[in-house]
Symmetry: C2
Subunit: 133 residues, 2 copies
Amino acid sequence: MSVAHTEITSQANGPCGDDDCGIRDVLDRIGDKWTVLVMVELGKGVRRFRELHRAIPGISQRMLTLTTRRLCRDGLVERTAYPTIPPQVEYRLTPIGRSLAKMVEELADWSRTHKDAIADAREQWDVGHPGDG
Amino acid sequence: MSVAHTEITSQANGPCGDDDCGIRDVLDRIGDKWTVLVMVELGKGVRRFRELHRAIPGISQRMLTLTTRRLCRDGLVERTAYPTIPPQVEYRLTPIGRSLAKMVEELADWSRTHKDAIADAREQWDVGHPGDG
DNA sequence: CTGCATCCTTACCGATACTG
DNA sequence: CAGTATCGGTAAGGATGCAG
């Protein structure tokens, strides 16, 4: 994402006082455009590359490749490639990946619960602030 | 952030089956560079603009202004301006803002717990994939 | 089918100067 | 003190074509 520290240890200041609790890295992962969608889909079970691609409308092949690779790099997703022709690759959540997926689900629940309230707040704001984003 | 749908209702597909659960909007907010830091600081109590600025090293005035304004727009933060000279403005979390701050804290807890595991996974990955980000 | 390489547009964000 | 206005670097991500 836009922050991209790359190294998990390179944070000047975290939100937890003055020590780095690592949340920046997690947000750099799940905060990007496609990661949550991939994780939720993989939360339903093992998926092949093409299945993910069809299950997530709008994602490009390039972004699906990058997203799955980053998830693999962080140990959240496991990749299994069978040397067949044509190639066949399976993706599945690791235990730690499933635990993060659970957090994401809770966030999704929160979103569902407060979605309308936020929409209302924005409408209220926007009428009082024309020409604002 | 990079996604920026602006409208809370303009999502083709959410992670929850085929309906939009609004998580995209939440991630667009807390996924950006500074929002979590501001929320956690406000979680400690009422803060003035300058106090936030000093409490969050590295943030520019511009970004602090944008971040607080977006939080206000979503109804997560309340802004109180006193017409004194010099001006004085207070920011505090709304009830819904506090509830989101709680979710963020849980995510921070998760990060602390799994930080080392992720760092290890990255190291493992990087040794096997030189020249990769 | 699964990926990689390249070009290109968008917009996030930092730096700086200015206002009431 | 609490913003606003403007400029510019940079990285994310979309489109397209090629490869094993």
